[in-house]
């Protein structure tokens, strides 16, 4: 792709610098100048130019070749013998995309002793489930899973492949993409089909300060990792019918180059991971002492919530690193987020500002967390939180 600017034709109307999202066009005398380090050839300038002085020559899309690729696939992650909830969320979304394209939803279920879940994926909306069930896939390894996924994709030619943007999903998808020479969009929060039947992948960038729409115009399949908890799984339809196909994928032990020697759980008994929780109770420096974490933990128990921490709380070793919310920790988007004694620094907000409902408790009325909280209480968390716990208990006993 190249951009050709015809200086002769240009009338200097200065429309194009106004529409350039990337600051790539600047005024240059009574003409303009393009900064190709910034230009992404998005075509906005070409569209507005009244005299056709800007032309973008795009690679010809091989329509026939692209038309061979059909169906929306979801690579369903399993962990500890179960299908992760993000898989159901993605099958639900895949159904919408596939209906739009009038194509099928295919769920890929790789694991060991997990075939019994195939039915549930059909009930969730899949037309077909490809089941790879073998001891070689009992635990996630990059090598084995990459071989399995690429060997399924390559001959069957799906149009779209979705992965959950979990730790393993984001380890696997780029490996598969690189092996097949494909584009991959990370951590999408929105997916749509446009009028050219292309997948529009919407994702945050620059720590959520901007959103971007990304396309994959020339190659198939179009692949994305999709953030958990963004799409809600719809109710399962137990009467739905679909086909289940068992596929054998041969793995030779020498192909697996990493060996998991040990697995260590850091979460205390009953503590939930923050990525997948519907409710998170997150504490900041305002909690003051690790012994005080019993308070948010009690609140969390009542709400079946995960316990999280801001960076200082994790840095101090009061909670394991897996529980840190924010730029250098994890991005979360639960239905309900409690920020207790957290100031709301931008690096923290980046990790949680897309939560459905945010509640903040902070002594300082000026704390930036209040700028984004749906419900803020200015007060001492050691007084407010016990009161909230009490109210919740009352409510629960009434129900």
């Amino acid at each position: 792709m190249v951009l050709i600017y015809d200086k002769e034709k240009c009338t200097g109307c200065m429309l194009c610098p106004k529409v350039c999202n990337f600051g790539a066009i600047t005024k240059d005398g009574n003409k303009v100048r393009f900064d190709f380090d910034k230009c992404v050839l998005c075509g906005s300038c070409q569209e507005v130019c009244p005299v056709n002085a800007i032309k973008i020559e795009r690679k010809a899309v091989d329509k026939d070749k692209i038309a061979q690729y059909k169906d929306v696939w979801v690579v369903c992650e399993t962990a500890e013998g179960r299908v992760r909830s993000v898989a159901y969320e993605l099958v639900t979304k895949a159904r919408v995309l596939a209906d739009n394209l009038r194509e099928k939803v295919v769920a890929v279920l790789i694991g060991s002793d997990t075939s019994s879940y195939a039915e549930s994926l059909i009930q969730q909306g899949a037309d077909k489930v490809l089941v790879v069930d073998d001891k070689a896939f009992a635990d996630y390894t990059t090598d084995a899973y990459t071989i399995a996924v690429t060997s399924l994709i390559a001959p069957r030619k799906p149009a779209i492949v979705l992965f959950g943007a979990t730790g393993n999903g984001r380890d696997l998808a780029p490996r598969v993409a690189a092996r097949l020479g494909l584009g991959l969009t990370a951590d999408c929060t929105g997916l749509e089909i446009d009028d050219k039947r292309q997948l529009v992948q919407i994702r945050p960038a620059f720590g959520g300060n901007i959103m971007a729409e990304i396309l994959c115009p020339y190659t198939r399949p179009q692949m994305s990792t999709v953030r958990p908890n963004v799409f809600k799984p719809r109710e399962r339809d137990v009467s739905r019918k679909g086909t289940i196909e068992k596929v054998e994928v041969k793995i030779n032990p020498v192909q697996i180059r990493t060996r998991v020697v040990n697995r260590v759980k850091e979460l205390a008994e009953g503590m939930k991971p923050i990525d997948t929780a519907d409710v998170i109770v997150c504490s900041g420096r305002g909690i003051k002492d690790p012994a005080n974490l019993t308070l948010p933990t009690e609140l969390a128990k009542l709400l079946d919530a995960a316990v999280g921490g801001s960076r200082p709380v994790v840095d101090a070793g009061w909670l394991p690193p897996s529980q840190q919310v924010g730029q250098s920790g994890r991005t979360v988007c639960p239905k309900l987020y409690f920020a207790l004694g957290i100031s709301g620094a931008i690096q923290h907000r980046i990790g949680m500002s897309s939560s459905d409902v945010i509640v903040a408790v902070n002594k300082d009325p000026e704390a930036p967390i209040f700028e984004i909280a749906d419900f803020g209480i200015v007060g001492d968390l050691f007084e407010v939180v016990p009161a909230v716990i009490e109210e919740l208990k009352n409510l629960q006993s009434e129900r």
Partner: protein, 270 residues
């Protein structure tokens, strides 16, 4: 250097210059990215990678090379890494590299790395501008070596042929053993990156810094940069800004708690 009794480790660290993302905004009137006045930094996750590489060198003997692909000013992050203690730097800079997505970035970097000797490649977990975490695994695949992502702890076995790492997972971590050469991505917890001191900064300027262009890399311009990128950005826009809602001040905790619980119930959040 006397390396007898040591395992000489050659480590390559791909590093990226990123804007301080907290300050990148969209101009609400024009809908354009505001980058002016936004400072550039060494990607924080890459600092862990550089530090890890330097620590290996200090412990076992070896050599650390930092590589970046970017505009000429990306040299700054190479100088920072050299000041921390890296030995050599490579700046891949050429107009033709610009506009690369993760695939084209990984292609370019892996072409460079293929020309070098290495035991380990250590990337950052992700670059904080795009937050993709894809370039590391893509480089590993293109080099044909194994990868372990989200590394929080790193040890080299005595013979220098294997590393044992802790890989962060949702529930805790896995202890993973992998044969070298391998690619790791570094995350928080791996170490505390050092700050360059004055001596380091002075020495950095004298360390070898090689510039590489498309021609010297010997790669087809069609497979790199914007042209070689399978994905394209169609549009950027400002996310809906979240606004604060109810804020209760000066109420006694009991009353405030009551209001909160009513609010949550009305929202269906509890």
């Amino acid at each position: 250097m006397d390396t007898s009794g040591c395992t000489f480790m050659k480590v390559i660290v791909p590093v990226k210059q990123v804007p301080e993302v907290a300050e990148v905004r969209i101009n609400p009137e024009t809908g354009t990215l505001i980058r002016e006045g936004v400072p550039s930094i060494l990607n924080p996750f890459d600092e862990y990678a550089v530090e890890a590489a330097i620590q290996l060198k200090e412990k076992l003997g070896g050599e650390v090379t930092v590589v970046t692909m970017g505009p000429p000013q990306a040299k700054e992050v190479l100088l920072k890494a050299l000041a921390m203690g890296a030995d050599k730097a490579i700046l891949l800079t050429d107009r033709a590299f610009a506009g690369a997505d993760t695939w084209a970035t990984a292609r370019t970097l892996s072409e460079q790395i293929k020309k070098m000797e290495y035991d380990l490649v250590i990337c950052g977990k992700q670059a904080i501008d795009g937050d993709t975490a894809q370039v590391g695994p893509e480089i590993a695949e293109l080099l044909g070596i194994p990868q372990v992502c989200y590394v929080r702890h790193l040890e080299v076995e005595e013979d220098g042929k294997f590393v044992v790492v802790h890989r962060g997972t949702d529930e805790g971590y896995e202890v993973v053993r992998v044969k070298l050469p391998a690619l790791l991505t570094a995350t928080k917890g791996l170490n505390e990156p050092r700050l360059p001191n004055i001596m380091g900064i002075m020495k950095a300027k004298k360390k070898p810094l090689e510039e590489v262009t498309v021609t010297t890399l010997g790669i087809s311009p069609d497979s790199i940069g914007l042209k070689g990128s399978p994905t394209t950005v169609r549009k950027v826009f400002a996310p809906e800004r979240r606004k604060g809602g109810i804020k209760i001040e000066g109420t006694d905790p009991k009353a405030a708690a009551k209001k909160l619980v009513e609010f949550l119930a009305s929202k269906g959040a509890i």
